[in-house]
Symmetry: C2
Subunit: 603 residues, 2 copies
């Protein structure tokens, strides 16, 4: 090692020792001919002192972020000049030897500054950004989170398995990234959207307990805060039921929060059915740090003459104290709704005397007005917001309003960690409910809500195709503060059930065989009951780090459009690369394929 | 859980308990109406007994690899029927309840059999293959090796960082796999051949100690036992010298061998210079389980009249007792040489009386004959093999012969673990020495032997361009039993030195800036001295497992030509996929690029 000590490790007991330190020139102060420099390395900072004369002379030439090696004697700081905020604040090092290991050109932004650089500059010069304490800590935290997770899983006898990333395109709800296969011209690999099929194959292979911190790839339209490659903690278990996967996940998350945050998360987490989550919170990942539930008023308004409320669903959410919002603010709520694809956000203001105001009130009958505040639990001075129409759409709007209300009214304890499970998901959803960018797996009007391999619950296993819209799946999502941390399911382990599920999604036997015949084949040879979960590692680390973007917990994130400002990837390729990679080759004929399938002799 | 106990966990002390087990029907015996089945799960095997009558009746319908759940009472086996070879051999379970969880069709090969299935069948039905004890153990061993490595590295304060895999093509000696970027039509990502540049950027970023068990990609022509995707343990450290990286690696390997094999590897490993390795063993990864060195006879034959030995290099290796090889065997040695691209393998047989025989002997002068045996250390009855010509080629042939001799004569202790370091590598090699499939980085006759970012040793740092063929690099390979386990180097950390190294390789400033300007830029802002190593994880696990192919320690390996017999990847893509992925798009103009580079707002 070029150094004898780490800068951040020096304490009063080192006084009198000669040490050699290496690191970067951070802050610097000149004081009557003496130069004080904060020398920074990964462990922290130590104050090094260049006394008047030759040393100070040489130190004068040091600029920010020069890399230096200094040798000197550790000394207790003079009485009264201790810095109790700094771990090394009791000492300083009187430098007797200085070597410049590398120089630094003038910086695009200051490393040691309270001014946050722009994100474009940060990403382009990520190697400078990572010298800043916040970004460095986020990356270290992520490493620690992975370590804790592995420790828990190892204790539970899980086996870490690396699954292929040059693999076959399988339908999992988004577009695949594709890779031309030079040695099989005309054929392409796909990068996996998840290790889903491989982890199921490992269960068929008798591994019983698998995990992997796995890189996954989705060629999506980069909605807010998505990355083309992302990481998930991927887990699969055999001979288990839903409660086993849930129990393990809770243990894992509790260990992570305990070790990184010192927080005891109460177990078990609260569970809520998908139906309840939608009804009460208008979201399948409700923020449970506060209550404020939606009220279903469909029945209440069943005979209404107000056209807007003559809808399959009418619901409301109350904003405490919202009656005093100025007109401008109430108009802004209309804008809020429009941005989410709704016409507006109907509201009724409850006056201090209990009379109802606002444009909607006059459309209501006396009876409707009279019982309304009580029906929704509103008090004098509150504002009642309404959603009406398709239940899913209207609830989504009210759910978004609920969260916005909580922020504005201050209902959210920013220190709370509200974990929960959403369970009893529908097995299928109608394809017209898919979000933009998602891809239906089959050709019918139904697609899997979780994914195509999710088992129905036992009560639906024989009849799910009769009522695809009602059948429930053994699927579960773990949520935290309004975020989905991850999700999983008990899988179908019988080939006949899998094919029946495919049939509902419009995937015939032939298409199924073509697309993932290998999984169906595997199921013929003794597949055990199994299930698992995947946790979105980027998001989990982001929440732990208190960051507002997953880019903060990714060492080298991409910006919008999948562009990397640091390496300028992606980039055009040369004609030679294109030719060699076989991008334009036609698929080989079957005979050639057969020949190439031969297994090579062992080395 | 569907079970109360793991099958392999049952012992005599469980006698009398009621247990529920789940697993696969392994071997089965009928004995006077009673059916004995070995029930296998991941933990092992337990014998379950179906007594005459209804239970035996139902058990009769069970076939190999059915998945079952059985409940019954644990009982000590009758006196004399214990199986001491089996962990559960003291007990059996009398089944009172049987549930078939899944059936199994007739198998393509037997899981419980001493007959090794063909490799093509194994890969195609890998989920069955992994139920076999050997393949399952190899995968579990690999998981354990990764766990131990992480534990050591965590103890040494290393930070695990995930680096991008959708990145920019960089020249590292092989072809890149390419990925079209749909959102930037005409641009392509490359899959990384290693995280080399990112780990160096992390050092510039002040991380100091990085590791990752990283997936890497090389589009090679699948020479023996290569995979298009492979794994390396990737390590980088700042403020270190060669000895620090070597010391850490030795600690890591010693821990792995200790914990998995119970073997104490003596530290430090033996070190040998590249020049010595080539001179003594004809290999840069010599098998050090045995000595048997090559002898340099160039000086000895400097005045020879024998045309074959009038060469820049003449060397020899001795085969103890080889003089008694029949003519047929000596002919086979000629074939051995021809397969390696040489004309033949000249030899001299040392008779029991010391006289020299064989076709070469008569071409030598009396003086040459007289001193030969002594010069090469041969005894009566030995055979002396010769290599002459270009030193590198001739030594490579003798090195191969040396290993072959050791196998034939039995010089190799199969239980030995002969670790070593090869150090003092040349910085550059001539491009005409590149192996087929490797790609020179620049346009000159010199290319980096290790890689383009390797530092010269201090004595060469100012002068390497004057004698590129002699300059030494701070590079080191760790070897084991004739295999290269990994390699690393101290990196160049100064932009000016890096550009000078590029110049030797024919990479001008402009090309360098185009190809990895981001690294050169980073070096301008205070890069610390740093170095690292990468260990080939597949090969390391293969050697530990005693396997003869890396495919044995990969969960889902590809066969020749990068084909996966299980999923049938790669496969043709549809016209729609091709269109959507933007495979045929022309690169955007620069203005459009600029617009797309904008960083998205945070979520």
């Amino acid at each position: 090692m070029l150094r004898t000590h780490e800068a951040g490790s020096l304490r009063a007991e080192h006084a009198g020792q000669s040490v050699t330190l290496t690191g970067w020139v951070a802050r610097r102060r000149d004081h009557g001919g003496v130069i004080f420099i904060d020398l920074r390395d990964a462990s922290g900072v130590a104050q090094v002192v260049f006394r008047e004369g030759e040393m100070a002379e040489r130190a004068h030439r040091l600029r920010s972020e020069y890399v230096v090696k200094v040798t000197g004697e550790v000394s207790k700081r003079p009485e009264g000049s201790d810095n109790p905020d700094l771990a090394t604040g009791a000492i300083e090092v009187y430098v007797s030897d200085l070597e410049v290991l590398n120089e630094a050109a003038p910086l695009p932004f200051q490393v040691e500054s309270d001014v946050e650089p722009g994100e474009e500059a940060r990403l382009k010069h990520r190697y400078l950004d990572l010298r800043r304490s916040g970004p460095a800590q986020a990356i270290r935290l992520r490493s620690e989170v992975s370590r804790i997770a592995r420790e828990v899983l190892h204790g539970e006898k899980f086996v870490e398995v690396e699954t292929p990333t040059l693999t076959r395109s399988t339908p999992e709800g988004a577009r695949d990234f594709l890779v031309p296969a030079r040695l099989r011209p005309g054929s392409w690999y796909a990068l996996p959207q998840s290790p889903q099929l491989f982890k199921q194959l490992l269960m068929v292979g008798g591994l019983e307990r698998y995990y992997q911190i796995a890189r996954c790839y989705r060629d999506e339209d980069f909605r807010a805060d998505r990355q083309p490659e992302f990481t998930q903690l991927d887990i699969e278990m055999s001979f288990v039921e839903q409660d086993d996967v849930i129990g393990l996940t809770e243990k894992l998350l509790a260990a992570i929060w305990k070790e990184t945050k010192g927080v005891d998360i109460p177990l078990p987490f609260r569970r809520i059915s998908y139906a309840d989550a939608m009804a009460k919170y208008g979201s399948d990942k409700p923020d449970l740090r506060f209550e404020l539930e939606l009220t279903d008023l469909t029945e209440y308004f069943k005979d209404t003459t107000f056209r807007v409320f003559q809808a399959p669903y009418v619901g409301a959410v109350v904003m405490p104290g919202g009656a005093s919002q100025p007109r401008r603010t109430l108009d802004a709520w209309q804008e809020f709704a429009k941005q989410r694809g709704h016409k507006g956000l109907a509201y009724v203001l409850v006056g201090e005397d209990g009379t109802l105001g606002g444009p909607v009130a006059k459309n209501l009958t006396d009876t409707e007005r009279e019982g309304l505040a009580k029906a929704v639990g509103a008090n004098a001075g509150d504002c009642i917001f309404f959603g009406a129409g398709d239940p899913r759409d209207a609830r989504a709007l009210l759910g978004a309003a609920r969260v916005e209300i909580a922020h504005r009214v201050g209902l959210i304890d920013e220190n709370a960690w509200a974990f929960g499970w959403v369970v009893d998901f529908p097995m299928f959803e109608s394809v017209d409910k898919l979000e933009a960018g998602d891809v239906a797996v089959g050709g019918s009007n139904w697609t899997a809500l979780h994914h195509a391999f999710t088992s129905p619950t036992p009560e639906w296993i024989d009849t799910f195709e009769e009522s695809p819209g009602e059948a429930l799946a053994y699927a579960y999502d773990v949520i935290l503060n309004g975020n989905e941390l991850g999700g999983g399911s008990i899988r179908i382990h019988r080939a006949d059930v899998q094919q029946r599920a495919f049939n509902v999604m419009g995937i015939g036997a032939e298409e199924a065989q073509e697309k993932f015949g290998f999984l169906l084949d595997a199921f013929k040879f003794g597949a055990p009951p199994h299930g698992g979960i995947a946790l979105g590692w980027d998001r989990l680390c982001m929440l732990l780090a208190g960051a507002d973007s997953i880019r903060e917990v990714i060492a080298f994130p991409k910006s919008g459009g999948g562009y990397d400002p640091l390496t300028a990837a992606p980039a055009p390729i040369t004609a030679l690369q294109r030719k060699e990679a076989g991008v334009d080759a036609k698929p080989q004929d079957k005979a050639a394929d057969k020949a190439a399938e031969k297994v090579e002799p062992k080395a």
